[in-house]
């Protein structure tokens, strides 16, 4: 359920930005989306599995995705916060699909007797 949670956070941020909500609401949500959401969608494993390697990948990957998305939009000439969050959300969806198929491949592999 990690990718849906990341996606909900990103969509919520887009909504409060669009509604011009106060910084008190937007800042924590923005921190969550920029520092955790994409990485969580790629590498988060769920509630109890927060070990250091997962946390490192979540934060590092999130920052990397932010930078790459910003660079791509800059090159494309579409660097606005709306586009940024939309692409971020798309990345999260792709990550979620990738994780699901990776998960099912892994379970199939585990079913095969050694």
């Amino acid at each position: 359920m990690t990718a849906p949670v990341s996606l909900i956070a990103t969509v919520a941020l887009a909504a409060v930005v669009y509604a011009d909500a106060p910084a008190l609401v937007r800042l924590p949500l923005a921190l969550l989306v920029f520092l955790a959401a994409p990485g969580w969608a790629f590498f988060g494993r769920g509630r109890a599995d927060v070990d250091a390697l997962v946390a490192a990948r979540v934060v590092g990957l999130s920052v990397a995705v932010d930078l790459l998305v910003a660079e791509a939009l800059l090159v494309a000439g579409h660097l606005t916060v709306g586009w940024f969050l939309a692409v971020d959300a798309a990345v999260i969806v792709v990550a979620g699909i990738g994780r699901r198929s990776r998960g099912s491949r892994q379970s199939r592999a585990e079913e095969v007797p050694a």
Binding site: L13, V17, D20, A21, P22, A23, R26, L27, A30, L31, V33, F34, L35, F42, F43, A52, L53, A55, A56, R57, V59, G60, L61, V63, A64, V65, D66, L67, L68, V69, A70, E71, L73, L74, V75, G77, H78, L79, T80, V81, F84, L85, R102, R105, Q106, A109
Partner: protein, 608 residues
């Protein structure tokens, strides 16, 4: 009747149990102690005034309470790692308290966020966030714009100005660094107490202050994550090539210490890890010109040692760098090719610019003390690393030893404006901290008397060395605070300048330490006054440059700039006082704003 004497057992007396154990507080004690000490630190900071900042920087202004609290955190940490057995509950609290005490000090004491470069970066982020474009010919940093673009987007999403992000960025980054660093340390250190020690050594050794609002601070996080993934998910286990065996033989004593875990056991997991590495590297390649090479060298070292399964990884990474430099950073290298390549191989020049010229270019004894404390702190930490390496002599430590040395290769490529050595120290520091932690022998659970005697003095030595490192850190990191802090009066002068200067005007400053360029970036041309206006002749040359500009031009002089000239430009205090007097009294300039030594000036003479 006979009486038998029955021996009466002595009344049972239960063993004395310390009160903290009775109350179940033992496991919590280090955390409670650290939080109490952090409270004292914060109290000390509330009693520290920025106006007391002197030649020793912020270290000279801190209240004695700050040092009491910091000493308490040090003692708590040492006591925690000295106990036999594992770590208590919430063992990270003392470490986090140390980070907050050391990193948050200026944010809590100074009225404005520190460091002029951070203000300039806020201006870059504001411009890109507002316009969605870069100002390619305005500054070389726009050739690696991803950080500024992402920061601009973050500020817009959060509903704040980028300037609002400056104050707490160092604390946020220093806390985030601990996450991947914990993974790196875990790859080389098996004892949990020693791991905490290694993390603490990194915190204290990271005096270079690259964690401000800048691409390199965030790129260092990418670097740590890159290595965390590389050392765990794609680790190759035993050094199985010739180079690895030769280096390992020099240090080998115990062959049974292969700690590096291999987290990615399935091909899918390994592909995911490779994609993560490529994403981290690509993000670095588009956002900072230097960090990518530290990543590349580290990957090459691990492949060379046989510690990374992906032998083609360095080539792939080099291709990513080359592709971005040829395509994305064209504006930068086109016309600057000589500047870029002239440093290659010039190691002597690089060392001279980074060390000799920095120490030589000082004019006051306190300044010399600050610079020497930096060298001493660095030497002390590296010495600890050597002691750790010699004491342990584990085969596994070949890896961190090589990773600590690899960043020096950058010195052979570029002097980076005299800053390359700072970066080398920063990028080597995670591995230096790992090695230095081996200078410590963790107390064993069931140690014999001889073993206990061997470690009896360790806590005392650790406290003394720790106190020296902390004192060195405060002077080394905050020793420039005279000119790195931003004064409210200086910020008001900048605002006044922006009020009066029309669009297209050229703004001159005498030194870099001024909170400008944080807004209206595209509206003005920004210049440094050369030569420094120390004499009337120099001033005439500066005014000639001002008059040579197309539109109107203004000269801004502020207290922060004078402090920088005094501390950084090898100008004596007498020369600075002379220059201040000259600006106040010269008929060649008219002051349109300011008082005392702060002023906005325009030429009093007209264009020839």
């Amino acid at each position: 009747m006979t009486m038998t004497l029955v021996p009466v057992a002595a009344p049972y007396t239960p063993p004395a149990v310390p009160l903290v154990r009775t109350l179940g507080l033992e496991g919590w004690l280090p955390a409670l102690s650290a939080l109490t000490c952090l409270d004292i630190v914060l109290f000390g900071l509330s009693r520290t005034s920025p106006s007391d900042v002197n030649g020793l920087g912020l270290a000279g202004a801190l209240s004695p309470w700050y040092f009491v609290g910091l000493g308490g955190i040090l003692v708590t940490l040492v006591a925690m790692v000295s106990r036999p057995g594992g770590l208590p509950r919430w063992s990270m609290v003392p470490l986090l308290a140390l980070v907050v005490a050391l990193t948050a000090a200026p944010a809590l004491v100074e009225p404005l966020p520190r460091f002029a470069t951070a203000w300039t970066h806020a201006g870059f982020a504001e411009y890109i966030g507002r316009s969605g474009q870069v100002l390619a010919h305005n500054d070389a940093r726009f050739s690696w714009p991803a950080f500024f673009a992402a920061a601009g987007m973050f500020a817009k999403a959060a509903g704040v100005a980028p300037q609002a992000l400056l104050r707490w960025t160092p604390l946020l980054l220093d806390l985030l660094y601990l996450v991947p660093l914990a993974v790196i340390v875990r790859a080389f250190v098996s004892d949990a107490r020693q791991r905490v020690l290694a993390l603490a050594l990194f915190v204290v050794g990271n005096w270079v202050g690259q964690d401000y609002f800048a691409p390199q601070g965030w790129n260092f996080l990418l670097y740590l994550t890159f290595l965390a993934v590389l050392l765990t998910a794609l680790s190759g286990g035993v050094s199985d090539n010739r180079l690895g065996r030769v280096i390992a033989r020099l240090l080998r004593r115990s062959p049974d210490d292969e700690l590096l875990p291999t987290a990615a056991t399935t091909p899918t997991a390994r592909i995911a890890a490779l994609l993560a590495l490529v994403a981290l590297y690509s993000a670095s390649a588009v956002s900072h010109q230097l960090t990518q090479f530290f990543m590349l060298f580290a990957a090459a070292a691990l492949v060379g040692l046989g510690r990374c399964r992906l032998r083609g990884l360095p080539i792939l990474l080099a291709c990513i760098s080359a592709a971005y430099i040829l395509w994305g950073a064209q504006d930068f290298w086109f016309g600057h090719l000589h500047d870029l390549t002239s440093g290659v191989g010039a190691l002597g020049t690089s060392v001279h610019e980074n060390v000799t010229s920095r120490v030589a270019a000082t004019s006051t004894p306190t300044r010399t003390l600050v610079l020497r404390s930096r060298l001493l702190l660095t030497v002390l930490i590296w010495l600890l690393a050597i002691v750790g390496l010699v004491r342990s002599r584990r085969r596994l430590l070949v890896v961190p030893a090589l990773l600590a040395v690899m960043p020096f290769l950058v010195l052979g490529l570029q002097s980076y404006g005299g800053e390359a050595l700072l970066r080398v120290h920063l990028f080597a520091m995670p591995f230096v901290a790992v090695l230095a932690s081996y200078a410590w022998r963790p107390a064993e659970d069931r140690a014999d008397a001889a073993a206990l005697r061997r470690v009896a003095l360790q806590p005392l030595i650790a406290c003394v060395v720790g106190a020296a490192l902390l004192a060195g850190f405060l002077v080394a990191r905050y020793g420039n605070e005279e000119f790195e802090r931003m004064r409210p009066a200086d910020a008001r002068a900048v605002s006044a300048l922006y009020e009066v200067a029309p669009r297209g005007a050229t703004l001159f400053v005498v030194a870099e330490s001024v909170p400008w360029r944080q807004r209206k970036l595209e509206d003005y041309n920004y210049r440094y006054a050369t030569p420094l206006p120390l004499t009337e002749n120099d001033l005439r040359q500066v005014i000639a440059s001002m008059l040579a500009e197309k539109g109107p031009s203004f000269l801004l002089a502020t207290d922060g700039q004078w402090a920088e000239m005094r501390d950084l430009a090898a100008v004596t205090p007498e020369q600075v006082r002379g220059a201040q007097q000259l600006l106040r009294t010269t008929p060649l300039l008219t002051r349109i704003y300011g008082a005392g030594d702060i002023g906005v000036y325009v030429p009093a003479v007209s264009r020839p």
